[in-house]
Amino acid sequence: MSRSGFLFPILLIAFATSLGVTVLIPHAQLGALTPDFKEEDGLVSDVYPNVPGGLAEVGRQVYVSEGCQTCHTQIVRGGDSADVDRGWGSRRTVARDHVTEHTPVLGALRLGPDLSNVGSEKWRNEPSDDPYKPAKRDASWHLKHLYNPLAMGEGSIMPSYKHLFLVRKITGTPSPDALQLPKAMSAPTGSEVVPTPEAKALVAYLGSLDRSHPLKEAGKATAATTPKK
């Protein structure tokens, strides 16, 4: 007669332990988190994080579908890590930062910098004493960078996302959206490079990435956060 009967019950216990400890208990602990807000006289203000919407939400889908998360994390670590000192954020990110996302784009690999706060004024990816003034990352900077990362600095291994742009003949007045690229990388004379709606949405998403809103569970923001001169 078979003596294999005991295998399944014990296996089920192991399975339940694994699921319970690494998923269900954390869910019980974090599942009820809500956005942070201020309430005065029944008026709710200062809601963080906001429910994503609009152009940035479309851009988030472009980000995911292009697989930007295979090279970029959106996790600022605390503790002994150098993430905050690198200028990637003013504090570590916590679970509440992601409560409004059904599936967060945390990523797993940092072939490029962390982008949790890339839309913040204070974000930087250079040492604070970098002799070259860090460029301001506005929308047109990001567009050029997406079109050709090498246009914005040497040695990048980020692929260019040319398929998010159109190269077209200039008819009449040049488009106000046309990218101002360095000579060697620009379109042939008489043509211009303009972003598609996807590219614009993606850049709106990047611009919306700012998780510097203070949260008590994330602890005090550290000195490295002080705005650069």
Binding site: H27, T93, E101, H102, P104, Y161
Partner: protein, 486 residues
């Protein structure tokens, strides 16, 4: 009577084992009955392996030439998850299911029940995977790392898996005094795969699961896929193949069983260390890190048990099945050790989010799982084809390409991870320098994938010949060297 003794005749010891439970004819009949199903699993698996390896070469080249094949559907961000799912869900899983199907029918001493249903299941699994791949390539990727395929693809794969698992579980029966260790690993792996893919996708479809919890679910499902499905089947295969090659029973049954249970409980807790320091509870990452260290015990115990079972047998040196399996076990040893070291708090901060993790994953999947499955296929194919492998040269090319390529490729990833991790850790190194130190290893990776690809291609050719029953006449196994013991 133990399985090892029962199947002793299989290794063609001149004096037939009178105690064997099954006659050689019975065994041949059982083997013949699973042939179509097993061949279907192996063939589709190998197709995925070739696809995945080619994509991996392109993906590795893209780190050197970022715009290489940079079309919208084939840019780095999309190819990278596709190369990985075709490898783990395509090659590893199909090959593992083929090995499991054959093992279960052998260990139960009867043909599989519901072979046709299982074949249909294998078709569904492949169709689902293909759907998933097309979805990623056309931009319908999920945001969750480790579960990039959309849930619709998983639904199709799961329905196929349900049929396959049903066939396995209905067919399994215990013929010995105790369930053999090989069977325990294979059955446990199959159940866990079904349960965790089902539970993971179900949880993600629930409204209450969002934010960081969704990623925790994905991490749990994904780590279960590797550590509770692919690794157990590979260990189960080693527990079957090694005694068969040596003709001796396993060194210690109690040690094997003890390690099995400890492994099943501990490995299920290791999945959440990845996000330590990030948005998950501290206790969770500490627990996972401790589990990764505790995992050394059952893994080393199992490896010791298996290696001790080979002691003194010259057969293991020349048998391809044994050599691939033992090489895999050696790599597994180093992978688990690296994994434990990498989860120590101070090391973890440095190597987290670098290619170090990919290096450990490559050691486990390409180094251990793949090599152990190759070992099993070298053992199984002659039995279901009725002839022996054609060429020991092809076997050597396969072994050298796969062994050197995999080792080199994984080390490149580990070193690149360590170097860029150390650079990232020093806040005053510019990101450009981080990129430079990391990228010195990228060419090595390209070369290693080409080596691996050559080895795999040699094996695929050999396998196809074998499937067409082109080989040496049955009777004497094809060894690395002609080394007849008697």
């Amino acid at each position: 009577m133990t399985d090892a003794v029962a199947d002793k005749a299989q290794i063609r010891i001149p004096a037939p084992d009178k105690a064997a439970q099954l006659s050689a004819v019975d065994r041949a009949q059982i083997d013949a009955s699973v042939r179509p199903l097993v061949l279907w699993f192996f063939t589709t698996g190998l197709l995925w392996l070739l696809v995945s390896t080619s994509l991996a070469v392109v993906n590795a080249l893209q780190l050197v030439f970022p715009d290489f094949l940079g079309f919208s559907f084939s840019n780095f961000g999309r190819l990278s998850p596709v190369a990985s799912v075709t490898f783990s869900y395509g090659w590893c899983s199909m090959a593992a299911m083929g090995v499991a199907a054959w093992l279960i029918s052998r260990l139960s001493s009867r043909p599989l029940i519901g072979k046709t249903v299982a074949t249909l299941g294998a078709v569904l699994w492949n169709v689902g995977l293909l759907l998933g791949v097309i979805s990623i390539l056309t931009g319908k990727m999920s945001a969750l790392t480790g579960l990039e395929m959309p849930s619709s693809a998983y639904a199709v794969m799961l329905s196929g898996l349900g049929l396959i698992a049903m066939c396995f579980l209905l067919s399994f029966r215990n013929t010995g005094e105790k369930v053999s260790i090989a069977a325990m690993f294979v059955i446990a792996g199959t159940c866990w795969l079904g349960w965790s893919l089902f539970a993971g996708n179900l949880l993600l479809a629930t409204n209450g699961v969002n934010g960081v919890i969704a990623q925790l679910v994905a991490d749990w499902t994904n780590s279960g896929f590797v550590w509770m499905w692919l690794v157990p089947v590979s260990l189960g295969s080693a527990y079957f193949v090694i005694p068969k090659v040596t003709g001796e029973p396993i060194f210690s049954g109690p040690l094997g069983r003890g390690c099995f249970w400890l492994y099943i409980f501990v490995a299920g807790l290791t999945g959440s260390a990845r996000l330590a320091g990030g948005p998950i509870p501290v206790w969770l990452s500490s627990l996972s890190a401790s589990a990764a260290i505790l995992l050394l015990v059952p893994v080393f115990g199992s490896i010791y048990n298996l290696i001790a079972s080979c002691r003194g047998s010259r057969r293991t040196a020349n048998s391809p099945s044994a050599r691939f399996t033992l090489f895999g076990l050696g790599i597994f040893f180093s992978a688990v050790l690296l994994n434990a070291v990498g989860s120590l708090r101070s090391v973890h901060y440095m190597v987290q989010f670098t290619l170090f993790d990919s290096g450990v994953a490559a050691l486990v999947l390409n180094g251990f799982v793949t090599m152990a499955l190759f070992g099993a296929i070298y053992f199984i194919m002659p039995r279901i084809s009725g002839c022996e492998w054609l060429s020991s040269t092809l076997i050597s090319i396969h072994f050298l390409g796969a062994a050197y390529g995999t080792t080199m490729g994984s080390l490149m990833l580990v070193f690149s991870g360590l170097a860029s991790g150390a650079a990232l850790d020093a806040a005053n190194t510019s990101f450009r320098q981080v990129l430079e130190v990391g990228s010195s290893y990228y060419w090595g990776r390209v070369i290693s994938f080409i080596l691996v690809g050559l080895g795999y291609a040699a094996f695929t050719l050999h396998f196809l010949l074998m499937a067409l029953r082109v080989g040496q006449p049955g009777g004497e196994p094809t060894l690395f060297r002609d080394a007849h013991e008697h």
